[in-house]
């Protein structure tokens, strides 16, 4: 145990001399605290429920350099992707209407037994303005609302807008009194969860409210001003005007009556406040007030309050699921919630008829008819063609609505968070995969009518995602889509254990640490998540490596992985990674086996352990990847094979031609005998003649 166990504080009521209750701390033993960036200590035994958010728990935090500073830390839930880009942008920003974000980062959190993203804030001087949506809140009158609420909060929103970060968590339960007098309000946390994830439907625009909460997307400042408008309405009224109503009912009322009418109704308010609220609560995003309008209002400009432009009401209702609907927005919302039941009336032409006769929109009716006709004549699977048909029809009925497909409703930039959350919880990704493969976002972009440059970029991104999804090799597939859509998501690979890797340069050190804890000795340090993470972060730099990783030849695949790690170590360091080098040693067996020569293999197997101890993956790679040596090895092996085959052929020849050899031997023997006879005769004759002469 490297640290002394932290104590858990318990409140034990007792009495002092005057009979008043005092709080006595009773110390209990619990786990150690978390330490962020070696500076901020987060006390796991000192929770602060009054500062917690629905997606993050709050604990007391201490700054080692300044223990007197009042801080608290929020521990983000691991299964939700936090807004890391927003954390980066807001760190250290000091503005009156915003709680100051002091530090952020991954931190080892002992109670969870893993690393969690942690955000440290300055503690607000006062309490939360509203503890729950059902509770009352002190009324702030029209004279004070400007100074205490509008001014500081508008300044905060302008500051955030200048940094390109919308808040997306504006609600009274996320507002704090910034001073002990309660004179000023400040926004609470907005980075510990996906944008607008914790927002009740009441505080979101109609379009955002239609979305699945995880998929609302970053949005922009217009959504923030809407939320601000609802919040101001609460503060002006001193209560929740729609307490007790469900989200569906609230959304339905907004669509039917408009947000202002739903919230304010017949309440008598001063004209400036009416103007303010009508401007902020305008359901038309283009007409809704922004910072400039607020500035003008704050400076005293007064104009006629915006009048809502509602959708034209049909002459007669469209019957669907036992109710009648009088405009496209209402009807499309109902249909999106009852997907299978919505298809028949569209296919049967009832919707087209209603549009033509009751709504008197011939153009829209013609387009719907064309969409239905194309779906029915389509050669693809009937179910999928009718699903796409309904998706298009819903877009036609309400072009401002989010992407709606089989019960999943999302803004295009909310898709990433949804995918991250589903994959983190190991949920069913089939619907999201289907949406990408069937190019549902493209339909949405094409059918919205107006061109927007941002949409063009997103559309091309989705097209790219489709191509990634179509490829099944390492570095592609759904994992690649996940990291492409979430540029600040940590790598989800189980090989990393509890390490938190957001940037490429953190990967090798994390693998180095994780190497000592691995249980499967044969698992190589690359899996689909790591490959996809690198592919998304490094892009075309490693296309060649990803192709090699998917090669069926083990030696080629492992060489691709080794090359990847060597490049990363060379470019980003550190110089020594003994853990990873040892782990890499598992991978090199197929590479060494790729050499035919046994002598060469022995030489490599002798050299590699030395390089492993050194921790240099670069040198291991250089040792194994030697093109000249490989070519020479191949050539010599081919020669050896030829030699072996020739020897085999000759042995076969010798063994199979015994009979012929016997015949040949007989012939040679007789020839030899004949020659012997002749030689003997000649020698004898010569000896006789010579002996006779001499």
């Amino acid at each position: 145990m490297s640290e002394i166990d932290e104590a858990e504080v318990e409140i034990d009521p007792a009495e002092d001399g005057d009979g008043d209750d005092v709080k006595v701390e009773v110390v209990k033993q619990t786990g150690p605290p978390g330490v962020l960036r070696d500076r901020y200590t987060i006390r796991s035994n000192q929770p602060l429920p009054e500062l917690s958010t629905p997606s993050a728990d709050a604990f007391v935090a201490e700054d080692k350099r300044d223990p007197s500073r009042a801080l608290f830390g929020l521990i983000c839930k691991p299964e939700l992707p936090p807004r890391v880009n927003a954390m980066r942008a807001l760190k250290g920003v000091s503005t009156p209407g915003l709680m100051q974000l002091v530090e952020w980062g991954p931190m080892n959190w002992p109670p969870a037994g893993r690393q969690c993203m942690t955000v440290v804030y300055e503690r607000p001087a006062g309490n939360r303005v509203m503890t729950s949506a059902r509770s009352d809140v002190p009324r702030i009158d029209e004279y004070q609302i400007t100074k205490r609420v509008i001014e500081p909060l508008t300044a905060a929103l302008k500051e955030m807008d200048s940094r390109g970060v919308p808040h997306r968590s504006i609600r009274p339960t996320n507002l704090f009194y910034a001073d002990s007098n309660g004179e000023r309000l400040a926004f609470g946390d907005c980075v510990s969860a996906p944008p607008a994830f914790d927002q009740p439907v009441l505080f979101e625009t109609v379009e955002s409210g239609m979305c699945t909460p995880i998929a609302r997307g970053s949005g922009n400042h217009t959504e923030d001003f809407y939320s601000l408008g609802v919040t101001v309405a609460f503060l002006i009224l001193g209560r929740n005007p729609v307490a007790g109503l469900s989200d569906d009912v609230i959304l339905g009322m907004k669509i039917q009556q408009g947000s202002y009418n739903m919230l304010i109704g017949d309440e008598r308010l001063p004209l400036p406040i009416i103007e303010l609220l009508r401007g902020l609560l305008c359901d038309d995003g283009e007409q809704r007030w922004d910072a400039e309008d607020l500035d003008l209002w704050l400076s005293g400009r007064r104009m006629s309050p915006l009048q809502p432009r509602g959708e034209k009401r049909a002459a007669r209702g469209f019957p669907f699921m036992g109710k009648e609907y009088f405009n496209g927005r209402e009807l499309s919302q109902a249909m999106s919630k009852n997907w299978d039941q919505a298809i028949p009336p569209v296919v049967e032409g009832k919707l087209e008829l209603w549009l033509r006769r009751a709504v008197e929109d011939k153009d829209k009716a013609n387009v719907v008819a064309e969409v239905v006709r194309m779906a029915l004549n389509s050669t693809t699977d009937k179910k999928s063609s009718t699903d796409l048909m309904l998706c298009k029809v819903l877009i036609l009925l309400d072009q401002a609505a989010p992407i709606r497909y089989k019960g999943f409703n999302a803004m295009p930039d909310g898709f990433g968070s949804a995918l991250a959350a589903v994959m983190a919880s190991r949920g069913d990704t089939r619907l999201l995969t289907e949406i990408i493969l069937r190019e549902v976002p493209r339909l949405w972009f094409e059918m919205r009518g107006e061109y927007q440059p941002d949409n063009s970029l997103m559309e091309s991104n989705f097209k790219e995602l489709r191509s990634y999804l179509s490829q099944t090799g390492m570095g592609y597939g759904l994992e690649r889509c996940l990291y492409e859509l979430n540029d600040a998501l940590p790598c989800q690979s189980s090989l990393l254990g509890e390490e938190y890797v957001v940037e490429v340069k953190e990967l090798l050190p994390a693998l180095n640490v994780a190497a000592s804890k691995r249980t499967d000795g044969k698992q190589i340090p690359v899996d689909r998540h790591i490959a996809a993470f690198l592919g998304a972060r490094m892009r075309s730099d490693i296309d060649r490596n990803l192709t090699a990783l998917s090669d069926p030849n083990q030696s080629v695949a492992m060489m691709g992985a080794l090359n990847l790690f060597a490049v990363l170590q060379y470019r980003l360091g550190p110089e020594s990674l003994p853990g990873l080098a040892a782990w890499v040693g598992v991978m090199i067996s197929p590479i060494v086996q790729g050499f035919h020569g046994r002598e060469k293999r022995r030489e490599l197997e002798k050299e590699v352990p030395r390089l492993v101890r050194k921790g240099s993956v670069v040198e291991i790679y250089n040792l194994l990847e030697n093109a000249e040596e490989r070519v020479r090895d191949e050539q010599e092996f081919a020669f050896a094979q030829a030699q072996y085959a020739a020897a085999e052929e000759e042995i076969k020849h010798i063994i199979t031609e015994t009979e012929e050899r016997a015949t040949e031997a007989d012939k040679i023997g007789r020839q030899t005998a004949a020659v012997t006879g002749i030689i003997v005769a000649m020698i004898t004759a010569s000896i006789v003649v010579i002996s006779a002469v001499f």
């Binding site: 035919h596 050896a640 094979q641 040679i668 007789r670 030899t672 005998a673 003997v680």
Partner: protein, 166 residues
Amino acid sequence: MAKKISAVDRARATAAAKKAGSGGAVGINKGVVLMVLAALVPFSLPTVVLVGFGMLPTLASWASEKGPNKYAFLCVGGLNFAGVFPYLFSLWFGVHTLDEAFRMLTDPIMLMTAYGCSAIGWGIYAGMPPMVASYLAASSQRRVNNLKAAQKKLIEDWGDEVSKKG
């Protein structure tokens, strides 16, 4: 339509033609030898008698051997000649008479030498092919062993894959 000749008849005709061809060549050789011998008779009867009786094993080997190559004739003939030649030489440069020729022919030592040498010739002719066959077999086996050793070394250096066809 020409009569179809059977394969058997065709083979017989080929053998007969071959025999006639070779027979023609053999006929010429026999004629030459006989003419030479006939020419020798009036001039060297003792030589003819000595050679005729002393080289009888050679004649027998020539007559008994089948096939175009007369290796037995050469082997036995060579050794037989080696046995007869000393006596022939002494006949030529000693007493070259018919009586001397007959006296030599009745000499058991001479007959033993001549016929003994021819026997050695037969022995060499009979024993040489098996010796050569054994030598060739041993040599082949040595070659096979060397090749297998080389293959084993290749497998040690390159693994079992080297034995697969590239």
